[in-house]
């Protein structure tokens, strides 16, 4: 594997401009002081109760995501390019979804194969021909970005269902400002704190046409046992909206109400953090106790906005991902600004043959998987693991895609043996309302804390960093 691009150091000893002040500061700051603040940060996180749950881990139902105090820094110029690319990408995602559930021009043009849509379990036939308020499907998108050189931003994954992590973006900044006021004073860091305001504005802007001018927005959570529950309560609090569970909502005459101490109150927009499958037991999984019976008929009647819309999974599916550059070109007539990772579609015999021959060099992912579960990282896997995976792949090739192992960029990170480069990615959050698309400068930087590791997922030992966009 090639030597990774380091975001701070240029080979030969020079520093990239965005990191110069940080490097000076690091030189002046004794390691003990850094360690002391690192411990303080951990204490703060635990006290605030920012935890997440790991499924299948009975030992500790609540864990902290490790936080690295060294910020990841990007110049304003770099950000401007990324921002433009993100807006383009999300615009295309929304147009694609509208098309898939209506005219299907893109299928007729044979850009995307039919069966990839119609035989896909995340395609929702219930959404066929259904009008969604203001034609917005993906109100909140989390686009995972990686870098391999100074020029390009590469999309690793589009998250168009219920992307999480934004609370870490906000809390990381809050804690960094508390712990390192001196470091902030030496930089001009673009603020992220207006995210909740922008999110609320976006959600209110997409209220159904019949709603009052002061629409009621609520956040629907699966409940305290969900891994992202902290984030749900955090956001509801910042937005000043009710945090509801399925049992708090009731559908009457195709309108949605919440049970309050003063009786039933009408709800217009639901920012839902419950998956499609669990939203409405009458339409989807009948065993779901997280959902609201009748919600889909209220949705079909146009009386409620769901954010994100139902059926957006078809746009962030890993099999569809490989077509994204063509999707951007098809709807917008523009060259995609953000690149895709080259992807082999195992459903295509030629690609499958190549993948089977090169398993030890590739990353193989389940088409419908997420969270870093169920993937094979060829270069890091044992022979036995690879052989087991080969069998799985042969049995069900359409369930997988493969990509080259990317040398993700690295950033300086605190480790047991001092500062060392660790691989990072970035998840910016893109908000789409009825009128505009906005992105708070920055996002969630995830870092693979183990030396050499490329897996940044929190469920697999990844940590997070504050992400600074310099306002030059």
């Amino acid at each position: 594997m090639a030597v990774a691009f380091d975001e701070m150091n240029i080979p030969g000893g020079d520093l990239r401009p965005a990191y110069q002040e940080l490097a000076r500061w690091l030189e002046e700051t004794p390691p003990e002081a850094l360690e002391y603040r690192r411990q303080e940060a951990e204490l703060l996180f635990r006290r605030i109760g920012i935890t997440f749950a790991v499924y299948g881990d009975s030992e500790s139902t609540e864990r902290l995501i490790p936080f690295d105090v060294i910020p990841r820094i990007m110049s304003g110029k770099e950000w401007a390019l990324l921002e433009k690319g993100l807006k383009q990408r999300v615009r295309a995602l929304n147009m694609f979804l509208r098309d898939i559930y209506h005219g299907r021009d893109i299928l007729r043009a044979e850009i995307v194969p039919d069966d990839l849509i119609f035989q896909n379990p995340v395609f929702r036939p219930e959404m066929n021909g259904q009008q969604v308020p203001h034609d917005v499907y993906v109100h909140i998108a989390g686009i995972d970005i990686v870098r391999v050189d100074a020029e390009d931003f590469i999309v690793l994954e589009d998250n168009a269902r219920t992307p999480s992590g934004v609370s870490y973006m906000l809390e990381n900044r809050e804690i960094m400002m508390r712990l390192f006021p001196d470091l902030f004073a030496r930089h001009k860091v673009a603020p992220v704190e207006r995210y909740p305001d922008e999110l609320l504005a976006a959600l209110r802007s997409v209220a159904p046409h019949g709603a009052s001018s002061e629409p009621t927005v609520a956040l629907l959570t699966p409940g305290v046992y969900n891994s992202a529950y902290y984030e749900h309560s955090f956001l509801a609090d910042k937005l000043g909206i009710e945090l509801v569970e399925g049992r708090d909502l009731i559908v009457k005459n195709n309108e949605v109400f919440m049970r309050t101490t003063e009786g039933m109150k009408r709800v217009d927009v639901i920012y839902r953090r419950v998956d499609d499958d669990f939203l409405d037991p009458l339409t989807f999984r009948p065993d779901s106790v997280l959902g609201v019976p009748g919600l889909m008929s209220a949705y079909a009647a146009g009386n409620i906005t769901l954010a994100n819309a139902v059926g957006t999974g078809i746009a962030d599916d890993k099999a569809i991902y490989s077509y994204m550059p063509d999707i951007v070109k098809f709807y917008l007539g523009e060259e995609p600004i953000l690149k895709n990772v080259p992807t082999w579609r195992c459903r295509e015999p030629k690609d499958l043959a190549y993948v089977l021959d090169n398993l030890s060099d590739l990353v193989v992912k389940e088409v419908h998987g997420s969270g870093g579960y169920g993937m094979l990282i060829g270069p890091a896997a044992t022979k036995a693991t690879i052989e087991a995976f080969r069998e799985k792949l042969k049995r069900e090739p359409e369930g997988f895609i493969a990509q080259p192992t990317l040398a993700l960029s690295t950033c300086p990170t605190c480790t047991a043996s001092g500062l060392a480069p660790r691989h990072v990615d970035l998840r910016p959050f893109v908000l789409t309302g009825s009128k505009s698309t906005t992105i708070v400068p920055g996002g969630l930087t995830r870092v693979a804390l183990k030396e050499g590791s490329l897996v940044v997922n929190s469920s697999q030992g990844g940590g997070t960093k504050d992400t600074w966009i310099l306002d030059e």
Binding site: R46, R47, I48, G49, G223, V224, Y229, S233, F234, A236, D237, E242, L243, V244, E245, R247, D248, M258, R259, T260, T261, E262
Partner: protein
């Protein structure tokens, strides 16, 4: 506000109040049992601690003997006892997590820190008297901090009132339960009235509702059983008296009624209980029978809980 949120706030406050009450009960019992038998008589104080906590039946499913070790363990740490202090704090934290948005950060911090300390320091229970004293202080301080945070930081709206209602309803229940178990030592016609035995029993009752000093300030008298009963039942200057709890419950329910522009059965029922307390005097109560009076009160109080639940929380 969401009914579920109101319910969580109400129960959160009840759990914290209950934890404190249990800590006080253990504390008071420890003091009495530390005395030579001549001063306290042959009654098993640990047994009455179980009775005032209302968990005697479930205790005897696990244990044979009500002694210090077993009762302290059951009331403080047992996972089998749904209202052990540990379970109260765990339930309080779970409720807090469900209503994070309705709590101030100070309240959350209090409960979350207590929960962290419970796991970090007290996961194995206590092995010495000194440890136990520390633990009981920790529980009482948590409750004080929670109460103080709520008082100092919460907006005065329905969230606050539902939370206060939980405190007062639970508190009234606790005070009434002590009286229910100990009423016999307060009866003037008891034979050994005024002996040292009674003195320690009486001060123990007062201690468990933190009213020993208050007693002396209010009556400027040596301990007398009917005055103790008067203090705990009718004196509305004592925060843990039944009269004070009901003064507050009526006020909180009225505030909710005004805010919502609507009164209901909860308001009427609470007012009925308050009026009865206001128009009673200790003579009548003793005549009518303290025991009957208290039992009626406990039933009335728990009925109010049910009515509040029906009217607002589901």
């Amino acid at each position: 506000m969401l009914s579920r949120t109101a319910e969580n706030l109400y129960w959160l406050a009840r759990y914290v109040e209950r934890a404190e009450y249990l800590a006080r009960t253990i504390d008071a019992t420890l003091r009495v049992t530390a005395l030579p038998a001549a001063y306290v008589g042959k009654t098993n104080e640990w047994d009455s601690a179980l009775l005032t906590a209302g968990v005697a039946a479930s205790f005897y499913q696990t244990y044979e003997e009500a002694n210090e070790h077993n009762v302290v363990d059951f009331l403080s740490f047992s996972a089998d006892n749904p209202s052990s202090i540990r379970n109260c704090i765990e339930a309080a934290r779970l409720n807090s997590r469900s209503v994070r948005t309705a709590l101030t950060s100070e309240m959350w911090d209090t409960i979350n820190s207590a929960w962290i300390e419970l796991q970090a320091v007290w996961s194995k229970g206590t092995s010495t008297r000194e440890d136990l004293a520390k633990f009981l202080r920790f529980v009482q301080e948590t409750s004080l901090r929670f109460d103080g945070s709520a008082y100092r930081t919460m907006l005065r709206n329905d969230a606050y009132w539902f939370s206060r209602m939980g405190v007062h309803l639970e508190r009234a229940d606790n005070t009434a339960r002590i009286l229910d178990v100990k009423y016999h030592v307060l009866l003037p016609e008891e034979e050994q009235v005024g002996g040292p035995l009674d003195f320690y029993q009486w001060s123990s009752i007062l201690r468990s509702v933190s009213a020993l000093t208050a007693y002396h300030w209010v009556y400027r008298e040596t301990l007398k059983p009917w005055l103790i009963a008067d203090l705990l039942i009718l004196n509305d200057t004592l925060p843990r008296s039944l009269a004070s709890c009901y003064g507050n419950l009526v006020r909180n329910l009225d505030q909710i009624g005004v805010a919502y522009g609507r009164q209901g059965p909860a308001q009427r029922h609470a007012r009925g209980i308050r009026n009865r307390l206001e128009h009673s005097n200790m003579n009548d109560i003793f005549q009518h029978g303290v025991h009957e009076f208290i039992q009626e009160f406990i039933a009335d109080n728990s009925r109010l809980g049910e009515i509040i639940t029906r009217q607002y929380l589901i």
